[in-house]
Every structure is written in C-alpha cells, then in structure tokens.
C-alpha cells in the first residue's frame, strides 16, 4: 500500500513539475488568438482626419498589418514611430491600418499631428471591432496575408525586428 501511495504521489509530482517546466519562459499575459488561421473579421470605419470610410475587405491582395492602439496607452507611444517608419518603407507592398478604440477623435488627431502618421487611422467608436478581433489590451497587432487571413497576432509594443518577423509569415 505504501509503495502505491509513494508511486502515485511521485506521478502527480512529476506531472506538476512537467507542467511548470513546459511553461517556463511562457509569458502569462500572452494570449494566443483563436483567430490565427481564420479570415480577418471585416469592418469599415471612418478614418481620423479625412472622415472617409475605409473598408478593410478591400485590403485583400496585399499583406496587411492592423494595429489596435489608443492615445491613453503608454506602450503605444513607444510603438508608434516603429509603425510610421516601417509604413514609409514598406507602404507600397504592405497595407498598414491603425484602429483606435475607447478614445476621441480630437485626442487621436492631436497625437497624430504631434507624432506623425504615414497610414490611415480608423476610429472604432463602439469597440465592437476590437471585440471581434479579441483585443484585450493595447497595443495589439494582427498580420494578414494577401487573402485576408490572420497569420499572426502580436500583443505589446512592436519593434522593427518583431514586425518583420511576423510580417514574413504574411508575405509567404
């Protein structure tokens, strides 16, 4: 009996250690998106500044980067120049789109005036677009291939290296 108890205890302990070991280095705040591999939800939102409505369904044909952000988000300030710079360089081959939620047009316009812009920024007033993409915190970025399928999601402020690594998946 004692041997059975000992072996069972060891099996449970080994299973726990195994689970902990497998999760070493895994960011607990990172949530895998179930949308990866699926078609990106369609939406048509107004662009801040021009007021024109941009339909993302029309982005198909080129890889696209959809970046969810907000002016109240600290890391978004850090990320913004990376996106602006990369959009200037890659803009002919890749569609960049910013989607801002839980924010006001005035604040967004002031942010863009001060920090520059090289791609359209759309306002998601109801937050429904963010919900459809499973956005929790900002910034979060989705990489779409030419067919409009989501191939990667990145949570947190992007660096150029991370942007290019994820974009490579969309360029395939």
């Amino acid at each position: 009996m004692n041997r059975i108890v000992l072996i069972s205890g060891l099996v449970i302990f080994a299973a726990l250690v195994g689970v902990l070991f497998l999760n070493l280095g895994h960011d607990p705040s990172a949530i895998d998106s179930p949308l990866v591999g699926k078609p990106a939800p369609n939406f048509a939102l107004k662009a801040v500044g021009s007021g024109e409505t941009i339909d993302v369904a029309r982005l198909r044909g080129k890889p696209a980067i959809i970046n969810f952000w907000a002016t109240w988000c600290g890391p978004c300030y850090q990320e913004h120049p990376v996106l602006v710079q990369n959009a200037r360089v890659l803009g002919n081959d890749v569609q960049f789109v910013g989607v801002v939620f839980n924010d006001t047009e005035q604040k967004i316009q002031a942010f863009l005036n001060e920090r520059g812009s090289s791609y359209p920024t759309l306002l998601d007033e109801s937050g429904k677009t963010a919900i459809a993409y499973g956005v929790g915190g900002v910034p979060e970025t989705f990489f779409l291939d030419r067919t409009g399928k989501i191939v990667a999601k990145y949570a947190g402020p992007l660096t150029t290296e991370e942007l290019q690594t994820n974009l490579a998946k969309a360029m395939k």
Partner: protein, 157 residues
C-alpha cells in the same frame, strides 16, 4: 505616399455577430429582463484585462464594451450559448469563466475528482489497517533477525 485603399462613401460597418454565430435562436428581450440577463451572461465572461474579474464586475472600458455588446445581442434575441460562442470565437476559451469539459480543460474538472477518489482510497485503507490493531499488524509481519537477537540478549539479562 500613395495608399492603395479604395476610399468609398461606405457606411461605417462593424463586424456583426451574425457572421460568426448565425441568426438569433431566441426571442428578443427588453426592460428589466434584459438588465437581469445582461448581468447574468456578462458574469459568465472573463474580463480580458483584469485579474479574476468577470465582465459584469469589471469597471474597465473593454469590459464595459463587452457588456454593452452582450446587452445588444440579448436584445436581438441571441441565446446565452450563442453569445458565449461569439466571444469564445474571438478570445478563445480563456474568456469563459467556466472552462468547457473538453481537451486539456477537461483536466480542470477531472483532476480534483481523481484526487478525491485517490485520497478516499488511501484514508479507507489506512483506517482498515488501524482496525486490525498495532499488535495484530506487528504479529503479521516477521520480526527483523537483528531485533530478535537484541530481544533475546535483553531477556537473558
């Protein structure tokens, strides 16, 4: 820089739940019933930016947006199952306060039951051993020859 977007005079369109979960399977509700059901369904959803709070309890703007969408879907006649399925489609099982009984998540349900059964077996076995009594248990086991020798020497003295 030239944007290759086709800028049109389209109406603003946000993604609609119907594309994911189809048409409503229930009846539209309103008033106090809608308030109550909104809180009930929102309490089954996890706030994605909080620590252990449901959408119903969280004051965060993301949770408020999600709660508003729950309300709107209930008002259109969507059922609780359809609404949970809609949020699960975008956020994954993480968004459900109660994990589903499938895949790895099934372990969350099965392991505590298995541990309980295992514990009960151990307790009953130990209780049976104690019922036998320490002397009986000792008598049942053959004595160590070394201890027997020591006992013999002590008894001689």
């Amino acid at each position: 820089m030239i944007f290759l977007f086709v800028l049109t005079l389209l109406q603003v369109q946000v993604p609609d739940a119907q594309q994911v979960i189809g048409p409503p399977k229930g009846l539209p509700i309103a008033g106090a019933q809608l308030d109550q059901r909104t809180n009930e369904v929102a309490s089954l959803l996890r706030c994605p930016v909080c620590q252990g709070l449901s959408v119903a309890d969280s004051p965060s703007t993301v949770a408020q947006d999600m709660k508003q969408q729950v309300r709107e879907l209930l008002g259109r006649g969507y059922t609780q199952e359809q609404i949970l399925a809609y949020f699960e489609h975008s956020y994954g099982q993480f968004v459900l306060q109660k994990p589903k009984f499938q895949g790895v998540a099934a372990l969350v349900w099965l392991l505590p039951i298995a541990a309980l059964i295992f514990g009960a077996i151990v307790v009953f076995s130990k209780a049976k051993q104690l019922e036998k009594g320490p002397q009986k248990a000792a008598a049942a086991e053959p004595e160590d020859p070394y201890i027997a020798r020591v006992r013999e020497l002590v008894e001689k003295q």
